[in-house]
């Protein structure tokens, strides 16, 4: 079976004033269906940039990203938005829930664009909240939930549309150990039980250990996890 994500010769640079800084250089990477990939590396190495490119939030300077056979670097802005809504579930470090919407409404948000009926939406949302074990908190606002609970709502929001892949940028970066553990267990279940393809950026080696695949990014260049630095982190 062809890999779900095929990245070829991806290069990305940012302009700062009149000089441009190369953030990603000739990245090539294949990700298989159902992979749980941990992307590690020091701060500023370009992890988030790579993740944003894969998730269709940003455009590369050169190279191609094929997801399920579609080269997303060729899509227009509005087609890309539609593609994201159908194919990608997002989990952020700071949860990024809408504070004036309840947990239920936050999870329902991505379904607004799907044309499902209200009843169908309710079913999906309930299922997703059940999955993260928060069905009893669905009328709570983000401000009334702990960090770990908010991140679990965010996970429910990411899976509710049943996307092709889930991208997570340091999902445990802002959580205490117990909450982080719970979130990671959930990600594991998503990968193992449901078979979702997950790409997770993380600093945390314990988080990386849950993944079944790991890549290491340093100064914009991709490498397989060097044993030395990996154990160093531990």
């Amino acid at each position: 079976m062809a890999p779900i994500i095929e990245i070829k010769d991806l290069t990305k640079s940012y302009r700062r004033g009149n000089q441009s800084i190369v953030v990603l250089e000739n990245i090539s990477l294949n990700i298989e269906y159902g992979d749980f990939l941990a992307l590690m590396g020091p701060s500023g190495s370009g992890k988030s940039t790579l993740l944003n490119l894969i998730a269709g939030l940003d455009k590369a300077d050169s190279g191609s990203i094929k997801v399920g056979g579609i080269d997303i670097s060729l899509l227009s802005e509005s087609m890309l938005a539609k593609w994201r809504s159908e194919n990608v579930g997002f989990i952020f470090q700071f949860y990024n829930l809408v504070p004036v919407l309840t947990a239920f409404e936050n999870v329902e948000l991505p379904l607004i664009l799907t044309g499902l009926s209200k009843k169908e939406r309710k079913e999906h949302v309930t299922t997703a909240l059940n999955l993260v074990n928060l069905e009893d908190r669905m009328d709570h606002y983000p401000g009334q939930l702990s960090g770990g609970q908010q991140q679990r709502v965010a996970i429910a929001r990411a899976v509710v549309t049943d996307p092709t892949m889930i991208v997570a940028d340091e999902p445990t970066g802002d959580l205490d150990r117990a909450s982080a553990e719970e979130v990671l267990r959930l990600m594991e279940r998503l990968s193992g039980d449901i078979g979702k393809t997950i790409i997770m950026v993380t600093h945390d080696p314990r988080a990386a250990k849950k993944a079944n695949n790991m890549k290491y990014l340093e100064k914009g260049v991709l490498a397989n996890a060097p044993e030395a630095s990996f154990s160093e982190c531990l």
Binding site: S43, S48, N52, A55, L57, D58, S78, A81, K82, W83, R84, S85, E86, F90, F92, Q93, F94, N96, V98, P99, V100, L101, E105, E108, L109, P110, I112, L113, D169, E170, G173, V201, H203
Partner: protein, 384 residues
């Protein structure tokens, strides 16, 4: 759901939303009151003009009308009485002694102006004396004139020294009546002109029409003017007050200033609402970036932001309009009978709504543009 979100967004900062709504409310209230003053001004003019109309040359007041129009006007439906007159423009000794002086068809004129109160025997002696004149009480006092005195005016429009004998002094029926005017017999003027400048005889400056009821003022004016349409001297007929108003340039200026101020009020509130919206949207850039990440396009963001802006202005506008009514009532009581009619017209309310709509839309434009164009990655901020 989006509607719910829009409502909750609008009131996320209760104090800020409250203050903005308060501002809109006060602005709409001020706008409404100012507009109402303007319309009350015109309404007052129309109401107090009661039953008298003035007909003059359509081109300008300085062009006369033929005397022959008198009988024709009298034939128009609704016309009860017709008088006529000329602005004489005479000077008493020197220019700084200015006062209004008119040649009028005395009998009909005094009948049309019952507010000029004259003792019957004085009135009789005025009407009997071809050279007689009648002056207001204040004017008589100013120059120390007594009945029987001879007064000489130097003509400016009608050349020569004109001699009059004071026969009557009028008193105003109430305080609003001008007691400093000077009237004499139009026949005296006309007969003299026949002798010295026959070309200028039988020419009338203005006709004054008494109608049976104020209700028919507009229709009567139209009938009179259409009667002389396409003749060599077309007429312009309007209520007496409107005619007088056209002299008072000052009032026009005041009205202009009021209109301008009401416009400025709207511009100020536009700035306030625009600032509120800009602040809210800047704080929520992160959220809008999340919306975009989830695939919501510019259309949805525009609806959210425009809706929020319109919601806030609509609430402020509604409260403002409601508050305008008691405020107008209080205002009307305070200014007494200066404005006999002080009603909030439906036009004012429509203008209120239009102004609020414009404010709501314009205030949203820039924030929408910002939210839609900001790249997602920078909108999400540095998240690690």
């Amino acid at each position: 759901m989006l509607l719910k979100l829009l409502f909750r967004n609008a009131f996320r900062h209760k104090l800020r939303a409250g203050l903005t709504i308060c501002g809109i409310c006060v602005a709409i209230l001020a706008f409404g009151l100012l507009r109402t003053v303007v319309s009350a001004w015109y309404a007052g003019v129309d109401a107090s003009s009661s039953t008298r109309l003035v007909t003059r040359n359509a081109i300008s007041l300085i062009f006369p009308l033929p005397l022959s129009y008198k009988d024709k006007i009298r034939g128009v439906e609704g016309v009860k009485m017709v008088s006529l007159g000329n602005w004489f423009g005479g000077i008493y000794i020197e220019e700084k002694n200015f006062f209004a002086n008119f040649a009028v068809d005395s009998k009909t004129y005094l009948d049309l102006y019952p507010e000029f109160v004259i003792p019957p025997e004085q009135k009789l002696s005025f009407l009997k004396d071809r050279k007689g004149c009648v002056v207001g009480r204040k004017l008589a006092k100013r120059f120390g004139w007594k009945p029987g005195d001879t007064i000489v005016l130097r003509g400016t429009i009608f050349p020569g020294n004109w001699e009059f004998i004071l026969r009557a002094v009028y008193k105003g029926k109430n305080k609003t009546i001008d007691e400093s005017q000077f009237f004499f017999h139009w026949d005296y003027l006309n007969e003299t002109m026949k002798k010295v400048q026959p070309r200028r005889a039988d020419q009338v400056g203005f006709y004054i029409i008494g109608t049976s009821s104020p209700d028919i003022a507009a229709s009567t004016s139209k009938s009179v003017d259409s009667l002389f349409k396409n003749s060599f001297a077309e007429t312009l007929t309007e209520t007496e007050k409107a005619f007088q108003m056209s002299f008072i340039a000052l009032s026009q200026t005041i009205l202009m200033v009021i209109q301008l101020v009401s416009l400025v009020v709207i511009v100020i509130i536009l700035a306030v609402v625009a600032n509120t919206m800009a602040m809210s949207v800047r704080e929520r850039m992160n959220e809008y970036a999340v919306f975009k990440t989830l695939g919501f396009g510019g259309f949805y963001l525009s609806i959210l932001i425009l809706g929020e802006s319109l919601l806030i202005t609509a609430i402020g506008c509604a409260i403002g309009i409601i508050a305008t009514f008691p405020a107008a009532d209080a205002f009307a009581r305070a200014v007494g009978d200066f404005f006999p009619i002080f009603n909030i017209s439906s036009r004012t309310i429509y203008l209120d709504m239009l102004a609020a709509l414009i404010v709501g839309v314009v205030a949203a434009i820039f924030p929408i543009w910002r939210a839609v164009t900001v790249p997602i990655a920078s909108g999400l901020g540095r998240v690690g």
